[in-house]
Amino acid sequence: MTKDEKRHCCEGCWEFADPKCPDLVKCLLFRPRGVVDTMARERVDSRVNALKRVDVSTPVIYVGAGTCGLGAGAAGTLEAVQEWIRVTGTKAQVIQVGCIGLCAEEPLLDVQLPGKARLSLRHVTRDKVVGYLDSVFANEIPAKGALMQFSGEGLENWPSVPTWQEHPFFAPQERIVLKNCGLVDPESIGEYIARGGYQALATTLTNLTRTELCTQVEKSGLRGRGGGGFPTGKKWRFALDTPADQKFLVCNADEGDPGAFMDRAVIEGDPHRLLEGMAIAAYAIGASKAYVYIRAEYPLAIARLNEAIKQAHSFGLLGENILDSGFNLHIIIKQGAGAFVCGEETALIASIEGKRGMPRPRPPYPAVQGLFGKPTVINNVETLSNLPEMFTMGVEAFAAMGTATSKGSKVFALSGKVCNTGLVEVRMGTTVRKIVEEIGGGVPDNRAFKAVQIGGPSGGCIPASHLDTVIDYESLKEVGAMMGSGGLVVMDEDNCMVDVARFFMDFIQKESCGKCIPCREGTRRMLEILNAITQGRRSEKGFSALHRFQGILQLEQLAKVIQDTSLCGLGQSAPNPVLSTLRWFREEYEEHIFNRHCASRVCKELLEYTIDPDACTGCTLCARKCPTEAIMGAKKSPHYVIQERCIGCGSCLEVCRAGAVRAQ
């Protein structure tokens, strides 16, 4: 830095005045830039510390108001908090943060009092706000309310409350993508920058050429987090090496797997991380225009992203000549209508182009000929959000994390029959068991674990015997599952695996774009076969039993052809849920087909209703309620069910006061 560039600071650099200090961002990114006197440096540092909320001067109340939080009632919590502040006249700042990941404990409310550690409270619904806030502000921990605390240097800890790092849900996690989620105000670019945000972009733009950047990402071993696991650096290089007057970067935020919500959470909780990642990727391939393809069902994420883009523009971190590097980037948000297939690259491109979202054959690959015929790199939200932290820690450090072929971390949306549902991020190589049993806290109510479904409609189930499988693209594939986008659904003895397969097949069958025959027609027939297996014991006539037996033979044959011949990833992976359940839970299929029995009692039509003669009081209620007159019996003597007449509606079970009706 030359002497001429040095300048004295004014007071207003953080006042966001227009025009703001032209050196503001650089000053923060390359501290100390332009700051000559120690007083000014201290002033900036203290401002940064204030933004990081190392300590606070006035109490801060954080409300977890991501979509998941709002679903749990955070909007009411927020209202009650504001009301409480108004009524008590307390001076406190209220901040809406994104989801920290522990959805099971929502709504979450954190309080940070001056000099004290930030205390996190759980299940703070509207009715609990007043009581909880009253006690915390009186320096008391509300009974049953405390979840954890975020201790820091010079801060007084709350007694006997676990720290964040000690909490069993968070302790085994390694948060790269979710680093800021739930901690920062997602609508404040200042907070993101204060926590080191945009430094990776700045150093990349300053120190690396495009080729070097691609090489670095190749070295990092980063692979696509959207499902396929294609090496990110390699993808970039294809696009970089294709000459064109215009190139595009597309962020795939078309998160469509049932049970997956990490992209939404990242965008809602830390949108600038995605923007920074996008800027790095766009720079690497030489794209001056980028799209975020996001489903319109994510209104909060879209709003946050819009706000973040606006802020980044005003800080010169997007737009023309970013950080004086000569690099330009404009980001456009394109809302999708929510078709699952639009997550497929070529369908997504068609959708952005205004066409029907249908895949086309590759090659040409989008990196060579993509959006509007130009070289296009499509990366998933999580992939892009890895970049800032990856460059901050260094690609070597990133490459050192994980297994031989899978580096870094992976975010999972943990749901289903597990105590701690939510968003978790673990180092690659972590066992599935650790996620389910330690982080997830295992299956609730002492029920037996049955399987964990990974990868949504493209993935498969991992049975208890393979719980020690590690999170790694290849080893998951080996057991018939798939990394997919990271949905992780835990199932217990109450889940019927045939029904699970049927559910996913129903989903795929409805979401198939209808273009290629094996996917369109094949999934439809597979669904019909699964329906025949799980439904219709009583209405079965004539040939339908034969077709059911024939069906089981056809399931595998169809699955093979659909995998082998489908046009896109959706079709090619569509049979996975069936194949994996057939592989690990074949006996459940056989029980359904041959015995017409569903042990988990999920397949209602397979249930057989009987009346326990010892328990039956002969009240005749069931017989009167039965729509098909299938229950016979004299008054005050045990009744019985005529199976041929029973349609399995279950109304006898509902009305019986003696608990005499059995469904098996």
Partner: protein
């Protein structure tokens, strides 16, 4: 050249081509239901999947670029089984009424099922069911028979630039439909019928007029007159067992007469009439500062296309009716007069290589006093059906001459059947009108051939004329856009709706082998080469018509009978 191994045999591929083309050249037949030559592969049907060593799944050969050292197995058990399963899946959702289908015995799906030895229904499940769309005067859509190969959608959008149909719905509910799923008649469909030409099943067919024609033939009160278009005689032979490119004019005339048509006329006659009127109009426009470039009007798909997409160009289109409609108008006026009968007693049938002609004949402008000039339009395919129904054995028939007075044509009129023909015929006559002398050369080579666009600068007398010939509406669209952008060196444009012209029209037999199209085209050129009367204005019968009835070109009587006007159409584009 690229070396690859196909089924353990060395095969040469060309750089940049897809595996399917290589296989075809090497004589390895891999079936496909969705492939369209010259368009970006859609990869929808997956019938052409083959096994490639080192690739985990099967690859679609239509979309797989050849590479040095590829090892391909096209008929491994795995590939064949996959194809068979795909056929079985299609059949599971297909009506089992082949016997009643108009594509029976010449259906691609039926043939594949037979080829792959599908002998029983494999999957018993729900079948998709939709209503048949009979709303269009030209095209009938039966979505139940549709296998969603997408060829119609692509031809409509990418070749014709119309895009009146697209996929609707998702998953197994997907179907092909119009905007807002309204009838084809109120869509932007121009009735070209190229969708029918590429349809592998009976999902698309013409709106048949066979019943009406048979009824008229059986009606003793009716004088049934038939005309057939220039492209018919060089095509229909293929269906009668003759070599492609054979002119079956005489045999066809004999067959039609044998079937009971009272008069057999040649649309070539009215094509000559069109040439004279159109050339006169062109000369008139040039001399009087009329709207230029003038654009031909004989292709009804193109006319509707303009009315929908480019109404500002309606004034550029020649006001001449098409040869079909000129014949129709003359038959119901002059001919009726000659025969001493009421126009209402005449039933006028035309045989056309086109389904848009059915629409054209139904336009309210194309008739007088509520009687249409042309009562029924048969496509080449319907003609073949009719010949079969009437037991006509073409090989035993002796060629006959067409009836007077409208059976004579010049070879210029015959050229109408191929792209560039109208232009060539009109220029010959325009030259005569402008200079009083015959066109010196025997042909205008630069306007011949299958290219979608052909341009030439011709000098007639002292006038330099820029002429352009386009076929296929996408190409027409491109040209109109150029003109919109300010291109002004063109005086006369010929537009044919179908790529290649009427020899490839939407009413022709459904095989699109480019070699056959070339043979048809060459047949027309040969007729022109060997003909005695090579210009429209030297057709004696036409001259007599003017002397006895019309007066002169562009006369009031000509205008009343032979010219028309156009209407802007409000359709969803």
């Amino acid at each position: 050249m690229i070396d690859l191994m196909v089924n353990n045999r060395r095969v040469k591929g060309e750089p940049g081509e897809m595996l399917l083309s290589t296989l075809k050249r090497a004589g390895v037949h891999v079936p496909t239901l969705c492939h369209l030559e010259g368009l970006f592969p859609s990869g929808a049907c997956r019938m052409c999947v083959v096994e490639v060593e080192g690739v985990s799944g099967l690859v679609p050969s239509c979309a797989y670029p050849v590479r040095e050292g590829l090892t391909v197995f096209t008929h491994s058990t795995r590939a064949v089984q996959a194809r068979k399963t795909i056929i079985e899946l299609l059949l599971a959702n297909h009506p089992d009424d082949c016997l009643y289908c108009n594509r029976n015995t010449h259906c691609d799906l039926q043939k594949l099922a037979a080829d792959y030895n599908v002998r029983s229904r494999q999957y018993f499940g729900q079948r998709t069911s939709h209503n048949i769309d009979m709303s269009s005067p030209s095209i009938v859509r039966d979505p139940d028979k549709c296998i969603l190969c997408g060829k119609c959608v692509r031809v409509c959008e990418e070749v014709q630039g119309v895009a009146c149909i697209d996929f609707v719905g998702r998953g197994s509910k997907t179907t092909v439909g119009t905007a807002f799923e309204q009838g084809l008649n109120v869509s932007s469909c121009v009735n070209c019928g190229q969708c029918i030409m590429v349809c592998p099943t009976g999902a698309l067919r013409e709106h048949s007029h066979i019943k009406d024609v048979l009824a008229a033939l059986d009606d003793p009160e009716k004088k049934v007159v038939v005309q057939h278009a220039p492209a018919i005689s060089v095509t229909v032979g293929e269906e009668l067992g003759l070599k492609p490119g054979t002119d079956a004019f005489g045999v066809l005339t004999a067959a039609l007469r044998g079937m009971g048509f009272d008069r057999v006329f040649d649309t070539g006659f009215s094509a000559d009439l069109t040439v004279i009127e159109e050339a006169s109009e062109l000369v008139h426009r040039i001399r009087n500062g009329g709207r230029l470039p003038m654009i031909t009007s004989c292709s009804p798909g193109w006319v509707k296309f303009t009315e929908e997409f480019y109404p500002e160009f309606m004034g550029n289109i020649s006001t001449c009716k098409s040869p079909q409609q000129m014949m129709g108008a003359i038959v119901k006026s002059y001919f009726a007069q000659q025969e001493g009968t009421e126009p209402a007693n005449i039933y006028s049938v035309s045989i056309m290589p086109c389904v848009a002609k059915k629409f054209e004949a139904s336009r309210p402008e194309m008739g007088s006093h509520g009687t249409p000039d042309v009562d029924a339009v048969l496509t080449t395919r319907e003609l073949v059906q009719l010949l079969a129904m009437r037991g006509v054995d073409a090989s035993k028939l002796r060629p006959e001459r067409a009836d007077t007075p409208f059976g004579d044509r010049s070879t210029a009129g015959k050229l109408f059947g191929a792209t560039g023909g109208v232009m060539e015929a009109a220029l010959r006559t325009a030259h005569f009108i402008l200079t009083g002398e015959e066109w010196p050369k025997s042909r205008i080579q630069s306007l011949r051939g299958m290219a979608p666009r052909k341009e030439a600068q011709v000098k007639i007398g002292g006038t330099e004329l820029g002429v352009v010939v386009v076929s296929g509406l996408m190409e027409a669209r491109t040209l109109l856009e150029e003109i919109r952008q300010g291109r002004d060196d063109i005086h006369f444009i010929e537009v044919m709706t179908c790529p290649g012209g009427c020899i490839a029209g939407g009413g022709q037999p459904q095989h699109s082998d480019p070699e056959i199209l070339k043979a048809r085209m060459q047949a027309l050129y040969a007729i022109d080469r060997d003909g005695d009367v090579r210009t429209a204005h030297s057709n004696r019968s036409v001259q007599r018509l003017y002397d006895e009835f019309l007066g002169e070109p562009l006369s009031p009587e000509s205008h009343r009978l032979l010219h028309t006007h156009y209407v802007k159409r409000n359709v969803v584009l």
